[in-house]
């Protein structure tokens, strides 16, 4: 189901804010959560786990699972090759 325009804009803006915050906070996120998946809501880490599926199961129990960003944080800074 396609959501309406204002809901879509809100979801996109929320994800973008979280992604920008992750990029800015990477050094400290690496120290605290290196090699783990983290869950971000409103520029705060609200949960983390090494196992994505366990973390996703907990995210699904949140009141608004669509409002969070899940990201993997590497402990080391890698060179990336997509």
């Amino acid at each position: 189901m396609m959501v309406n325009q204002s809901e879509a804009l809100e979801a996109i803006n929320r994800e973008q804010v979280n992604q920008e915050w992750i990029n800015k906070s990477l050094p400290s996120l690496r120290r605290k959560f290196g090699d783990r998946y983290i869950v971000i809501r409103g520029r705060k880490v609200i949960d983390s786990d090494k196992d994505f599926e366990k973390l996703l199961a907990r995210v699904r129990r949140l009141t608004d699972p669509g409002s969070v960003t899940i990201e993997y944080v590497t402990a080391l800074e890698y060179l990336w090759l997509l």
Binding site: M1, V3, L9, I12, F52, T69, Y78, W80, L82
Partner: protein
């Protein structure tokens, strides 16, 4: 009209909302723009977030060749849409009539080479179908999609 991208250590990123009406999926993802990739892909973690069981999807009809090692590639064949935020709070929609591919990286490990979590990619098919230009001005730390 422009849509601002984010420059991260992994590259040029665009947040877009993926919709697949036939599967009742609406999920917002952070995509990496990859001009080296002929096709667009959902990473398996992103697919799982939307409740897609990647292992149950049919395999891609074409084999995949890449520098990043082997990947198990499946095809979400139902048509989908990607909505991208442009200046002036406008949303532009790109139709994906053949759906989107989904992949899971190989679990093989080697020294100095680590297969990381999957990332969702917008490849050259997306740039062609959208009709948008990708402008990357890395010395100024700027990148954006430009709609004619």
């Amino acid at each position: 009209m422009r849509s601002r991208s984010v420059l991260s250590e992994m590259g040029i990123e665009v947040v877009a909302q993926f919709t697949c009406p036939m599967r009742h999926i609406t999920q917002t993802y952070n995509f990496h723009i990859d001009t080296g990739s002929s096709s667009s892909y959902l990473g398996w973690e992103d697919a799982a977030k939307a409740g897609i069981k990647v292992e149950e999807l049919p395999s891609s009809s074409k084999p995949i060749f890449g520098f990043g090692g082997a990947a198990d590639v499946k095809h979400l064949k139902e048509p989908g849409f990607l909505r991208v935020h442009f200046e002036g709070n406008t949303l532009e929609t790109v139709e994906l009539p053949d759906g989107i591919l989904a992949y899971r990286p190989s679990r093989r490990k080697t020294t100095h080479w680590r297969s990381g979590p999957s990332v969702s990619l917008l490849g050259r098919d997306f740039l062609r179908m959208s009709g948008w230009k990708l402008i990357a001005d890395l010395p100024r730390q700027e990148a954006y999609l430009e709609r004619p």
